[in-house]
């Protein structure tokens, strides 16, 4: 019996891959709808900050994620953008990652049309800028010093969506959704220095690293990974890819739990029994 258990302990990892793949297929084919009770404090704070912004104000979205982090971050962006439009906020989108431009394109093909928002009047997309820190510093004195034309070549100052926006004093909230460390720059160079509230959306892996910033209040709220996206979607009451992905996530977590319990029980049995 011990030999069999030892064999199981040293099982070829490809069996584990197969088991995981089968487990992940199930909710994709038939959504189970596992209940999602808790909403974490940071997601609630992120939502509250977006909710507090008065209608008609200008909110800056910095979307810096590329296709590899799309499954976790795109639902966050979609939910946040949908809610911003629902609250009749004016939206400006900037990016500092070259790979994001295609994803932003996909975002604005879908979301504004659903809310009946018009490019130039309710939202505007700015072109990719290579040097994030330089752009952030420039925007503190004059937004148009770095973004004088939008992505379609129109003069930014003339757009109705940019009315009354000159620099950070006129932007009540910045939402940064990223899979890179750009959120650190937003917090250090903008949020802390110019007292602009910054709310972030990051991958689940990077989420613990922002603990210090959340504690000191330099980062006002954080949406972490797909679970954060699902929680945010439930707060804005717009279920999307985040919520549907949560089932798969929950089952995968369950499998990890069972695996680590099993391996430790087998280890105990082999060693002491």
């Amino acid at each position: 019996m011990k030999e069999n258990l030892l064999k199981f302990l040293k099982i070829d990892r490809r069996w584990i891959f197969l088991a995981l793949a089968m487990i992940l297929f199930v909710p994709i084919i038939k959504p189970i709808g596992l209940p999602n009770k808790t909403i974490s404090k940071d997601v609630q704070n992120a939502f509250n900050y977006l909710d507090k912004v008065p209608a008609g104000s200008f909110v800056l979205f910095s979307l810096d994620y590329d296709p590899s982090t799309r499954p976790e971050l795109h639902p966050q962006a979609v939910a946040a953008l949908r809610y911003a439009f629902k609250k009749n906020l004016r939206v400006g989108i900037v990016t500092y990652i070259a790979g994001s431009t295609g994803l932003i394109q996909q975002l604005i093909e879908k979301v504004p049309a659903e809310a009946g928002k018009v490019n130039g009047t309710d939202y505007v997309v700015y072109p990719y800028m290579a040097n994030a820190v330089a752009a952030m510093t420039q925007m503190a004195s004059d937004f148009y010093g770095i973004y004088d034309k939008d992505i379609d070549g129109r003069d930014a100052r003339s757009l109705p969506v940019m009315k009354g926006v000159r620099n950070y004093k006129d932007i009540p909230l910045i939402v940064n959704i990223t899979g890179t460390s750009i959120l650190d720059f937003w917090v250090a160079y903008v949020g802390d220095k110019y007292n602009v509230p910054v709310v972030g959306g990051v991958t689940a892996i990077s989420q613990p690293g922002y603990g210090p910033y959340l504690q000191t209040g330099q980062l006002k709220g954080l949406i972490g990974g797909m679970k954060g996206a699902a929680e945010f979607e439930s707060l804005v009451k717009e279920p999307g890819k985040g919520t549907s992905g949560i089932d798969a996530l929950n089952l995968a977590h369950l499998m990890v739990l069972l695996l680590i319990l099993t391996s430790n029980i087998i280890l105990l049995v082999v060693r002491y029994l």
Partner: protein
């Protein structure tokens, strides 16, 4: 006849003028009282695009709203620059430490950023400012227009605490390096670095190559710099053991530097003939393409030893896990804390954070580098002592309500 007519016109003119000057001027209200003590000066310690306005508080009701207007030679006319309630702008609210700014009690101070309103102004330009007090949107007082000159300043006095700390570190650094002992200073054992010899020996026996993955950082990332130092030492050992090393690169600048480093290592080991240009090769500047390519190379060639040193993000587990399936001995080091767990679980040895920076000194045992390590330890000691004493003082001060002490300590360690 002409004379009479002219006289009549003249008399009529003078009468009209007299009447006009006697009649009250239509539409002009009584003059408003002036806000006393209003001064404007260049904001100190900045790049030259802000002004510092000060005036005494308490002259009007608590809910008075102040509006600041400014005017420049180019813009002409008065532009409203700021609007706020008296309570929001006390002199204490200016973000400068006590050694650079002394807020007078009962004073209002406003830092006025003018770059956004009137664009970039040349240093030395004159700007006129005035402030007006409003109660329920009714003007109740207005100051006289004051001219101030904006100037770019040359030193940030508010960062003096930082400069002093830096100076102390630099002095300690020079002292340690100049007193570099010939005999080895004690450095505690770092298992990951001790295992490098074992790893290279293993690869020589098995006749398989060694893979050195320098991560996805740029050359300006400190961990990449540390990684190139370690690469130099590893390459030297590989050259002397007559083994094989391969270094796939994510960043072409890092590749260029690594080429020089490896070449020098081969020369120092006395094996210039074994050196080949393609030991360092560029793979891709995309994170997952790089991971996929390196994974493929590792799976096919099954190296005996893999080093992961540098800046890693999500691809850390992809690389480390594939490496462990081939049975290679893996030594990893990174300063990205959230990737450390993945390296811990998949690699044989892991260097945490600053052990990576110490590696250059540890491996080469050069006296100057080892002494520089002492400075790192001194820095950590300073931080530990500051945290302990500062925390104690702040706790005691808060308990005994010594507000000044608490303020001073909090300000001393704040970054401006």
């Amino acid at each position: 006849m002409a004379k009479t007519k002219t006289l009549a016109v003249l008399i009529a003119f003078f009468l009209a003028a007299g009447a006009a000057s006697a009649a009250p001027k239509a539409g002009k209200t009584a003059p408003v009282p002036a806000i006393a003590g209003f001064t404007a000066a260049d904001m100190p310690y900045d790049a030259g695009n802000a002004l510092l306005l000060r005036w005494p508080d308490g002259q009007y009701a608590a809910d008075t709203v102040y509006r600041v207007f400014l005017s420049t030679a180019e813009a002409g006319g008065w532009v409203q620059a700021d609007e706020f309630k008296a309570a929001d702008r006390s002199a204490k609210a200016i973000p400068l430490p006590f050694w650079a700014w002394e807020p007078l009690p009962g004073e209002l101070a406003v830092k006025l950023e003018i770059g956004a309103l009137v664009g970039e102004l040349k240093s030395g330009s004159d700007v006129k400012v005035k402030v007006a007090a409003f109660e329920k949107d009714k003007l109740i007082a207005e100051s006289l227009a004051v001219t101030a000159q904006i100037r770019g300043n040359w030193f940030r006095l508010d960062r003096l605490n930082n400069l002093i700390l830096l100076t102390v570190v630099v002095i300690a650094f020079f002292w340690a390096v100049s007193h570099a002992k010939r005999k080895g200073l004690f450095i505690r054992r770092i298992a990951g670095l001790d295992a490098i010899d074992e790893a290279i020996g293993r690869s020589t026996e098995m006749g398989k190559p060694i893979y050195y993955v320098p991560g996805i950082g740029q050359m300006s990332t400190i961990s990449t710099i540390a990684s190139t130092f370690i690469l130099g030492e590893v390459a030297k050992k590989v050259a002397s053991y007559d083994s094989q090393i391969k270094v796939p690169h994510y960043d072409p600048v890092v590749m260029t530097v690594a080429k020089e480093v490896v070449k020098q290592s081969y020369l120092e080991a006395g094996r210039p003939d074994s050196y080949r240009e393609d030991l360092n090769f560029f793979v891709s500047h995309d994170q997952f393409s790089y991971a996929a390519s390196v994974d493929g190379m590792i799976s096919r060639e099954k190296p005996a030893a893999i080093f992961f040193m540098g800046y890693f993000m999500a691809e850390s587990l992809l690389l480390a896990e594939v490496g462990s399936t081939t049975g290679a001995i893996q030594i990893a080091g990174t300063d990205v804390e959230h990737q450390l767990p993945f390296f811990f679980t998949a690699c044989d040895y892991t260097l945490i954070g600053e052990e990576l920076y110490a590696a250059g000194a540890y491996l080469s045992k050069e006296p100057m580098l080892v002494s520089a390590l002492k400075v790192q330890d001194l820095g950590k000691l300073v931080v530990m002592v500051s945290v302990a004493i500062g925390g104690l003082l702040v706790a005691v001060g808060a308990k005994l309500q010594w507000d000044n002490l608490v303020q001073v300590i909090m300000t001393l360690f704040k970054a401006y």
